[in-house]
Symmetry: D3
Subunit: 156 residues, 6 copies
Amino acid sequence: MVEFTHIEEGHVRMVDVTGKPDVSRSATAEGKIYLSSETLAAIRDGTGLKGNVLATAEVAAILAVKETSAIIPMCHPLPIGGVSVGFIETDEYINVTVTVKTYGKTGIEMEALTGVSVALLTIWDMVKSAEKDEGGQYPTTRIEGIRVLSKEKGTA
Amino acid sequence: MVEFTHIEEGHVRMVDVTGKPDVSRSATAEGKIYLSSETLAAIRDGTGLKGNVLATAEVAAILAVKETSAIIPMCHPLPIGGVSVGFIETDEYINVTVTVKTYGKTGIEMEALTGVSVALLTIWDMVKSAEKDEGGQYPTTRIEGIRVLSKEKGTA
Amino acid sequence: MVEFTHIEEGHVRMVDVTGKPDVSRSATAEGKIYLSSETLAAIRDGTGLKGNVLATAEVAAILAVKETSAIIPMCHPLPIGGVSVGFIETDEYINVTVTVKTYGKTGIEMEALTGVSVALLTIWDMVKSAEKDEGGQYPTTRIEGIRVLSKEKGTA
Amino acid sequence: MVEFTHIEEGHVRMVDVTGKPDVSRSATAEGKIYLSSETLAAIRDGTGLKGNVLATAEVAAILAVKETSAIIPMCHPLPIGGVSVGFIETDEYINVTVTVKTYGKTGIEMEALTGVSVALLTIWDMVKSAEKDEGGQYPTTRIEGIRVLSKEKGTA
Amino acid sequence: MVEFTHIEEGHVRMVDVTGKPDVSRSATAEGKIYLSSETLAAIRDGTGLKGNVLATAEVAAILAVKETSAIIPMCHPLPIGGVSVGFIETDEYINVTVTVKTYGKTGIEMEALTGVSVALLTIWDMVKSAEKDEGGQYPTTRIEGIRVLSKEKGTA
Amino acid sequence: MVEFTHIEEGHVRMVDVTGKPDVSRSATAEGKIYLSSETLAAIRDGTGLKGNVLATAEVAAILAVKETSAIIPMCHPLPIGGVSVGFIETDEYINVTVTVKTYGKTGIEMEALTGVSVALLTIWDMVKSAEKDEGGQYPTTRIEGIRVLSKEKGTA
């Protein structure tokens, strides 16, 4: 029988975790943004361009990780202890990986997923003038494969 | 030659749009979250459950649309005039569509994309106790196909 | 037949107001916080005390007015043009009045009501060490009578 | 002699609680919103309507509980461990109850009171098109009786 | 006779600007952060280092410009139309310049000053491990000369 | 060799502090705002004026201290335990001092510096109608000398 801990007797609630021990926890999530080959080539070749697109995405992701419990309604606020962001560029897409660490009472995968999503949205925003066609539409741009790569938990 | 309006001479900037006219604009974006068949069946069969999962996602999406310029660094703040959220449930995934309307100086697709992303992340958070396996991992859950369906612009 | 514009076909939405004209609008709301006579006397007699309690409540109210659309999910963001806060002290309670002005597409009473509520909660917080009994409970403190006093709208 | 811990020598301050032990704490607050009998009947009879009005108020209340220390100036940030929201509908009003739990250094009643206030304001916003008279005024709508029902504290 | 428009009859208020016309406006502010010569040399010589320190400060400044009315209590929210950030490095300090543009009802210098302040604080945070002495103190680091360089206003 | 812990292999990151012990920590920062002698005299002589300018700055500073990790990208969120703000008025400037206390895993000087900066910006905003010359410029107003006065750390 599947269980939905955020819903009880027809009402949403934020589950009580006050009795759970603080333990070290980490989670890593990833996702991809598909871009036109012209945009990807321009990012690959232009040092300043690349640095600025990815640095802006990194900063946005780290800030978003810290705001997760204000964005996702039932998320518990957790003391974010560390965040790192990585990028892999291919001929078709940029892959973003976010790892988040905490020492707290509940898992931190929603923070990693929120960081990945905001990094990908920020890349989209940074390159949108290059990705739009003449009608202002986006024939190529899309975000795919947002998922949790791993979750770890220490002992109390 | 591709153009990156948010970057000039090696620095990021928020492009100056003060000289552009206010016109009515709308954008629609969509995305999917793949879930286990047990979770999708429980949502389909449980009225209270379904109402709560989707209502929470709707509210989170609408709030996120309004916060887009605080989340995506180079986004211009726009006077959000209307937001609607739609869901389609299939045997494999829930599809989310968000339409945003404004009367302003620049396009509103980043707001629609942010609304879709936050709706999908909120669904994930609401069903995560049902989606995790015994090791606390997510074998099925993933977000795919976030894209702009259409963008429209009135005349000044 | 009563109408709920924020709900359509079983879904919440933020109503589209992009087609409405910008007009000057104002709204005034009020509310009361009942306090122990000792607390009210201390506020009445202590200039520094009174200044600090009411100034903190004023500042909190003005900031909250500006954050209303981030706090109330279906509220439209409006360009806040002016806010003023007034207090009346009696032997039983402090009455708070908040007037908000805008030049926008929809009414501004939720902003005035949010300002009043936050002013009253801030007064509570500022005097809570004086209001609590030995068991840490609040035998007297309560908030009453939050309502809209008037709403006005100019012509386009 | 009444004591105002947030004020010292004519200045506001956020009281230092760093030396206090972390203990489990909970607080429950309540409040009422009076509505017209037509609005209350429509909410009672319309499943979708009721679900949406109350679900939106629940989500707004839970988010507001987490933002309390950003809204109320002298409030300490506390690690919110759990939040639940309840509603009782009568012929005259809807009563909202919010219970908040933490494991921290100071009481959590301001969070419960903020959650109640925001739930009530959100209900107002959701039904405002039905509550306004022809002149755009609110002859019936008002918020009453916001108070702390109970506060509890564990041992260190 | 000096005038304080934010204070009237002993109360703070947010001045009513709803009757003022929308005009194009811009403001430029600057400020300096003094750093140790070792830190400045490391930033000058390390391309990756310099890019990351300054890009993070730029992004933080642009986000802060948009949040000014949530940080400075009596500031009116203004539709930010464009923001650019510049840096000059010398042997003693880094100078930051922020220019903000709007099309609105009141001046935008507080936004430019807030952007400069947050850029300087972010640089401090990014280099703090290099600036601290053995006792964890900052013998050199300080922020100086935050001022408005120019303010301009178009005609209605 | 200087060390920049927020940057690793050409990428920004939020340093992992989850393994560090919680200890009591405090930091005090200060800064000055130079104002015209007319403005300083008006503040000195007008009780209501002075109370309102400084109380608004105090409240803004305390709120900003709590928002530091949302404003400065790589800052860790810390459980703020206490904040106090002090002012010294001279014939040339107002000096602001902010002391922040926490019980956490990393230093709290960025919070004290952010509090000082926001207090100074708020004073500027409160007196700006008195400081501007006929051309709308600020011949006198400037912020100087923002620095950390002391940092202390207890033992685990």
